[in-house]
Amino acid sequence: MDKGLLAYLLIPLLSAVIIPFAARSRARLADILANVTLLAGLLNLAWLALRPSVIAGGFADIPGDGFSLLLVGAVYLVGLCVTFFSAWFMEDGQANRPAYYSLILASVSAMTGVVTTTDFFTLYVFIEVLAVTSFALITTDESTKGIEGALKYFFLTFPASALIIVGISILMLSLGSLSFETLRIFMASDVPPGPVTFAAALIMLGFLIKSGVVPFHAWTPDAYQGAYAPVSAHLAGIVTKISGVYAVVKLATLLRFFDGRAAALSEMLMFLGLLSIAVGALAALRQKDFKRMLAFSSISQVGYIVLAAGLGTPLAIMGAIFHLVNHATFKTVLFLNSASLEKSAGTTDMEKLGGMEHSMPWTSWTSVIALLSTAGVPPLSGFWSKLLIILALWEAGLRGYAALALLFSLVTLAYFMVMQRKVFFGKKTQAAESAPEVGAPLLAPVVLMSALIVALGLLFPYFYAYAKMVAERILL
């Protein structure tokens, strides 16, 4: 456990416990408590990482490995956007309001646990806590679809947990310890890996299922589409990234893919990554529902991260980290916008939407920024992370992978063009006529995130310095 960051785990947990009691008579108190908790944490983190003196020093003063801190920041940021959005999105009379915020905070706390832990057992515990909060969150609006999504999520990720625990047991038996450090030292030594690689493969498989990589992606579109609208942003933006993708990246660094000791595993990972990029993007082309399209897009983008993690060179890991953060920003924007559309126009069916740019200009233009970043159009942040990943692939001599990964950006752009034509530009439909732009509070998190997308793109040198620091600390 990275003790320096323990407070970020405990405080939201405490808030989660307090909220049901505090909000018993006044339900609105739940919103305020949740927002204040996350905002305070975020400000604290910003102070820790973004002081001018820290930036000027090339981020050398950052405690720990820097990776955890960055991801805790991402978790808090997305969490804050979601809670802030929910505070205005939720109907006033909604019964389970305090429970909803408690669950969000509990999941923030669990995610903090996942990214700060230094051994597999704790990791497993937090992953399970996260999964349980997610099931409950998906069903917030108690619709049939939500329950269906939650059940699918449950049934498909349960075997994943089983695989992980079996893998962990084998690891315990063969290494005698579950700490990350032991595995790292073991992989750096000359001892034949034997069952350790097998155990790692099982754990990896579990996490791949949880991150929704092809061919384990069946649950994601249903879960995202069925989930309560702001929850789908939470889920797609950060939860599945932390419970699956982060763990894959972490494991990739521990297994030292870059020095070829677990070459078979690394190749498999890269292949699945590319497969996800392709399948996700091609499937997204054919979707008729906004949220489903975003879900497939998520699968495709996760593919880039997994591809980079599978390569495992320092540059690739930097790309993966950057893309992980970028993905959190642009997917949150897009999913929150889909929630706004749902609230305002009453549907996310792209056939029924159209010409929304006039009635909802802010929603439209923030969506455009987010989708261009997803497609890797410069100078937005998504371009730089993809570029780093592609450069890393090329540098490692995997030119075919690099070229394919690059050209699938075009498919990404293509499905988003389809979406833009149907939803935002194009003829106004009946649904669009009566749809008002959502209020400023609902726009605030989206605009903030869009600004971040632009800023991360323009301030790439700073982010690069940070990611470089992280890669050096976790790989060397």
Binding site: L407, L413, Y464
Partner: protein, 479 residues
């Protein structure tokens, strides 16, 4: 900091960031927004042109913003970039002025002005970038702006055309990025100043060429331009024909003309591709009946002549190609703006429904004729000198097949422009109501461009001296 460096930075930064302030200016009033947009355009032109004195004095201006891994943003003003920047900023400024009337009664005007200025700014960035990666960055930004501009009207057809435009050009751009990555790993740098005179591998050159051809709408990527041309506003199609396609030409001149020494086989491939492009599109221009499509096809065909000059590998042709860029921008700009006036006043784009318009639109007709003559290459218009130099350079190169293809192309240019002029302005009126002359600013803009075309022919000494100086100082591997 030196004044010229300040001018260099403002020439890029003012339009790029100014574009995002246009929506705020629109909050004040329509007039404020329009004035602001035109001012941005004029200011950019002045800033770019003011660098001419520096580069003519044998100096260059450089500005570097450090990025990791050799991705530095380097702005570099030399003879070529200042030439290109001045030409495109000038045409864009004319477009902005002409737009004041032309688009005043359509929706989405704020977006329109913001995108034209953003386009201009990214064009400036592209032209001044001395780092291949940043050329790519600005390249994509121009793609984004033109996507919004082609989709200016929001009917499904227009939006689909806009999407086609961006997908074709982005496909090319991604190929180009692949080529850039190859250069990066072959040479360890993307700084064009350091790559000067180096050899480039065939594969990298081919990938970069794909990007260039897609942007300049040359075969096999030519289909998007006529489609973008029928998209809504003539102004938009002008922006594409007169400025956007020049990006590809500029990139060719920059990368293969003054930086890398391209393999001979590569240059020959380009010549044949360009020749085919010139013929096919001239043929299409001969049979089409939509005035804007004809002019768009004509652009595709003329761009091929510029490639002929750039790829012929000798100084005469290179000078001719540079002059061609200038002459074509001015003359084709004039033609498109005339087409805009005609379309707006007759409410049709079909040339079969026009005829006898000279009586009612004498000034537009004269301007159209003057611009056509320049595009055809009739002396003493500017277009004559550029076409003459390109052909004499190509003759020196000695590739007879290519030369014949282009001669046929030049004859066809003559034919389709005469046909166009005849169908529109002469012959019997064909039931188009009572067309009248366009508004004063619009007619003034086209007449100005037509007269500039004539003046450039009379004063050909100055532009050609500039082009020769450029070729002699910067040209690589030219005989």
């Amino acid at each position: 900091m030196d004044l010229s460096i300040k001018m260099l930075i403002t020439a890029v930064a003012v339009p790029v960031f100014g574009a995002f302030l246009i929506p705020f200016a629109a909050r004040i009033s329509t007039a404020a927004r329009n004035a602001f947009a035109v001012l941005l355009g004029l200011f950019t032109f002045v800033a770019a042109a003011s660098l001419a004195s520096t580069v003519l004095g044998g100096q260059t201006a450089d500005f570097t913003l450090n990025f990791p891994r050799g991705f530095d943003l380097i702005l570099h003003a030399d003879l070529l970039s200042v030439f290109m920047a001045s030409v495109s900023a000038f045409v864009s400024a004319v477009i902005l002025i002409y737009s004041l009337d032309y688009i005043s009664h359509y929706d989405n005007q704020t977006e329109y002005y913001a995108m034209v200025v953003l386009f201009l700014g990214s064009m400036m960035g592209l032209v001044f970038s001395a780092n291949l990666l940043w050329m790519y960055v600005f390249w994509e930004m121009t793609g984004f702006a033109s996507w919004r501009l082609v989709g200016f009207f929001r009917s499904d057809r227009d939006v689909a055309k806009a999407n086609k435009t961006i997908l074709v050009t982005v496909f090319g751009a991604l190929c180009m990025l692949l080529g850039i990555i190859m250069v990066y790993f072959d040479h360890g740098t993307l700084d064009l100043r350091m790559l000067h005179g180096q050899a480039i591998s065939y594969a990298a050159a081919a990938f970069i060429l794909a990007g260039i051809l897609s942007k300049s709408a040359t075969l096999p990527f030519s289909t998007w331009l006529p489609d973008a041309g029928v998209a809504p506003s003539t102004v938009t199609s002008l922006l594409h024909a007169a400025v956007l396609v020049k990006i590809g030409v500029y990139a060719y001149a920059r990368i293969f003309g003054v930086t890398f020494a391209a393999p001979d086989a590569f240059s020959n491939t380009v010549l044949y591709l360009a020749g085919a492009s010139a013929l096919v599109s001239a043929g299409a221009a001969l049979i089409d009946t939509d005035i804007k499509r004809i002019i768009a096809y004509s652009t595709v065909s003329q761009i091929a002549f510029i490639f002929l000059g750039l790829a012929s590998g000798n100084k005469t042709a290179f000078v001719g190609a540079l002059l061609y860029i200038l002459m074509h921008s001015v003359a084709k700009g004039g033609l498109f703006l005339c087409a805009g006036i005609i379309e707006q006043n007759t409410h049709t784009k079909d040339i079969n429904k026009m005829g006898g318009l000279f009586a009612s639109m004498p000034v537009t007709g004269t301007a159209f004729a003057l611009c056509s003559l320049s595009v055809m290459g009739i002396p003493p218009f500017g277009g004559f000198f550029s076409k003459f130099l390109v052909f004499s350079g190509a003759a020196q190169n000695g590739n007879l097949a290519v030369l014949l293809m282009f001669l046929a192309g030049a004859v066809m240019t003559l034919l389709y422009l005469v046909r166009l002029f005849y169908k529109i302005f002469l012959g019997e009126p064909a039931g188009h109501g009572s067309p009248k002359e366009g508004s004063v600013t619009m007619v003034a803009s086209v007449m100005a461009l037509a007269l500039i075309g004539l003046a450039l022919g009379a004063l050909i000494y100055y532009p050609s001296a500039y082009a020769e100086l450029l070729t002699n100082t910067l040209g690589v591997n030219l005989q």
